[in-house]
């Protein structure tokens, strides 16, 4: 009886360990922040810097972070300002965070306004990066007023595959025309919501930047 109990205990332990080891589900987070650099929105970039600093303080070793700009043609590697996958060791990850912060500071100092706003291209670039990074939880943060203005000849009216990607619109400012007709603002938000959700993503808007902890909450 005692022998049987020991064997049973052993088998259960082995099964648990095997199950635990073959659990290959990634628990890392991948965050891609899109920063709108068009028109007057460049005035809001200080806020974007706060968000990036918050992300640097929150993300853990093994997580990935990239910051890309939204300009005339955003579907390009050149629009990635900085990207990093943090090392598994916390001390090295801290050094990477410092370097990342430095890069962002330099970018903010020398940013130039772009005439057009290609949000869709930026989102495509973000999806591509996040899929390559292979993170368990993927986030696209859009720091923009969500008013897309495409240059002539740009084709962006197609569906993007963004399964299980959480898209968070941050600091969606109201334009002058929104104040005249608030329905424009509502319609803009509704348009992006539908576009994201029909592509398999999850949509959320956070305008109160005092509650940054909500950004990465599930």
């Amino acid at each position: 009886m005692k022998k049987k109990t020991i064997i049973l205990f052993f088998v259960v332990t082995v099964v648990f360990l095997i199950h635990a080891c073959i659990d290959t589900q990634s628990r890392t987070k991948g965050v891609y922040l899109l920063i709108d650099t068009s028109g007057t929105y460049t005035e809001e970039l200080k806020k974007a810097q706060t968000i990036i600093n918050y992300l640097l303080g929150t993300l853990q070793p093994g997580d990935s972070l990239a910051v890309g700009r939204i300009d005339t043609g955003s579907f390009s590697e050149k629009d990635i300002i900085a990207k990093v996958t943090f090392d598994k060791r916390p001390s090295t990850a801290n050094n990477q965070k410092r370097a990342f912060q430095k890069k962002i500071d330099e970018f903010i100092k020398g940013v130039k306004e772009s005439p057009y706003t290609d949000i869709t291209g930026g989102m495509l670039q973000a999806v591509e990066y996040l899929n390559e990074a292979g993170s368990g939880m993927k986030y696209i943060l859009i720091f923009s007023d969500l008013k897309e203005e495409l240059a002539a000849g740009m084709i962006r009216d197609f569906q993007i595959k963004m399964d299980d990607i959480r898209v968070v619109a941050l600091n969606v400012t109201k334009l002058r025309s929104d104040n005249i007709d608030p329905r424009e603002y509502m319609n803009r938000l509704e348009f992006w919501k539908k576009r994201v959700e029909s592509s398999g993503g999850l949509w959320r808007v956070i305008n109160d930047l005092e509650r940054l902890e909500k950004i990465l909450s599930d």
């Binding site: 659990d23 600093n53 093994g62 598994k88 060791r89 801290n94």
Partner: protein
């Protein structure tokens, strides 16, 4: 659905009435088998519950007996250990003090002989009177005639007497001085003798005390062997106390383990990676937990090898040489792990400080005085990291008490639960039996008009029969 039962749609009350009459009729005609069915079902259920209750009570009684056996066996073993320990103490006292008794005896004899000799030498010997004293006495009795020769002779005698007296006094004083010197030399011997005797007295008193303790333990042991209720009560109470105390100590140890875990979990992420997972748990957390568990296991082996606990018979029955080796091996591993923990605690402090500085930089705050490195928390953490593994090693002692006492306490709890379930089953069985009888009465109540008619018919029939009988007579 109810519409199907309405015979006359324009008069539902009449339809219901008809159905009631039909039902009453059916109930009346099916009265005997229906009531038998109700009674037999209730009886079956009552018997089943009673049987289940009985078997549970039987199981509880068996469990109780087994608990008693276990309790008495544990008590016997524990008392045997205590008596064995008392005998070991007595043996140690005997070895230490009484084993050297021949030497002590010789020492005492020597001292007594020496004192005796000194005493004899110190006895007062009065100076013996000179032999010519009688002659002097005779000369002194000669009547004085005024002769100068006689007076000169007497004067000479007087002088001689005085000289002799002086000499005697001198001799006497010398002898007294020697005697006093001998007596003062005896003092240390007396003291030594007194001390030796006091020591022997203490040893004997200590042995007497031990023998009283052994007597008490033996009386307790005899009670356990006789399996008396008193012994069982005492053991049970002692077991419960042990359970509570060891439980509290284990909780304290768990608190220590949690502190230890927090001390090493963060630096472990530097070794096994902060983003690695095993199942739903962080690999660094599991690694920290494993280290703590290994320390606890080493502590268990160490305590077992030192014969402080008796959890593993294999270690307990090991050859002494092998056991000593095991003591050194487990202690060395524990020491290494303690050093590793101290190093991890140091690393934790470095990582935490680095993170703090990074957070401040990200928040755009200048480095404050408070966050500047101080060696006090670092040293504190390192000391804690070094001490906690050794503190955890002592968990083996309360763990053993907990395991042993929980066997008894759990047994008592199981018996209580079994008795409670048995009572509930018995109660349910009795309720079902009563409900069956109640249903029969209710059945009769539903068909009471027909029963009344039947009773009337029977009475009438009896009356007719008796009147016919009287007429025929």
């Amino acid at each position: 659905m109810w519409k199907n039962f309405i015979i006359w749609t324009d008069s539902p009350v009449l339809s219901i009435l008809v159905w009631v009459v039909v039902c009453v009729l059916v109930f009346f005609f099916a009265r005997i088998p229906a009531q038998q069915l109700i009674l037999s079902i209730s009886r079956v259920l009552h018997n089943a519950f009673r049987l289940a209750s009985r078997s549970l009570l039987y199981a509880a009684r068996r469990m109780e007996m087994r608990n008693r056996e276990v309790l008495l066996a544990a008590g016997r073993e524990s008392t045997e250990k205590l008596i064995e320990r008392e005998f070991e103490r007595v043996n140690a006292v005997v070895k230490r003090d009484i084993q050297g008794y021949p030497a002590l005896h010789r020492n005492l004899s020597d001292l007594v002989t020496k004192i005796d000799e000194d005493y004899r030498e110190s006895t007062e010997a009065p100076p013996s009177p000179p032999g010519w004293l009688n002659a002097v006495e005779s000369v002194a009795k000669i009547p004085s005639t005024g002769d100068t020769l006689v007076s000169n002779m007497l004067g000479e005698i007087k002088n001689a007497m005085e000289r002799h007296h002086k000499t005697s006094i001198h001799e006497y004083r010398k002898a007294s001085k020697k005697r006093h010197s001998l007596l003062s030399k005896m003092m240390p011997f007396w003291r030594k003798l007194t001390n030796t005797l006091e020591k022997v007295g203490k040893t004997i008193a200590g042995l007497e005390d031990r023998s009283l303790v052994i007597d008490n333990k033996m009386a307790h042991y005899e009670e356990i062997l006789a399996k008396t209720d008193r012994a069982e009560r005492m053991l049970s109470s002692s077991s419960l106390t042990q359970f509570v105390i060891s439980g509290i100590v284990l909780l304290i140890a768990m608190g220590g383990a949690v502190v230890n875990f927090n001390l090493i979990a963060l630096p472990m992420s530097e070794m096994v990676g902060g983003g690695s997972y095993i199942g739903p748990f962080k690999a660094s957390n599991i690694a920290a937990m494993v280290i703590i568990l290994v320390e606890t296991a080493m502590g268990l082996y160490l305590m077992e090898s030192l014969h402080i606990t008796r959890l593993f018979p294999v270690i307990h029955t090991m050859a002494d040489r092998l056991r000593y080796r095991m003591i050194w091996v487990t202690f060395s591993i524990l020491l290494i792990l303690a050093c590793v923990e101290a190093a991890l605690a140091f690393m934790r402090d470095l990582i935490a400080a680095d993170m703090q500085i990074l957070r401040q930089t990200l928040a755009g705050v200048a480095e404050s005085e408070a966050t500047r490195r101080s060696w006090i928390p670092t040293v504190g953490q390192m000391v804690m990291g070094f001490i906690l593994p050794f503190a955890l090693a002592f968990v083996a002692i309360p763990l053993e008490s907990f395991v042993h006492s929980s066997r008894t306490v759990l047994g008592v709890v199981v018996v209580g639960i079994l008795r409670l379930i048995a009572f509930m089953l018995r109660l349910t069985g009795n309720i079902i039996s009563s409900v069956g009888e109640m249903l029969v009465r209710l059945y009769d109540l539903v068909i009471f008009p027909l029963l009344w008619v039947e009773r009337l018919a029977r009475t009438k029939k009896k009356e007719d029969a008796s009147s016919t009988k009287e007429a025929s007579q």
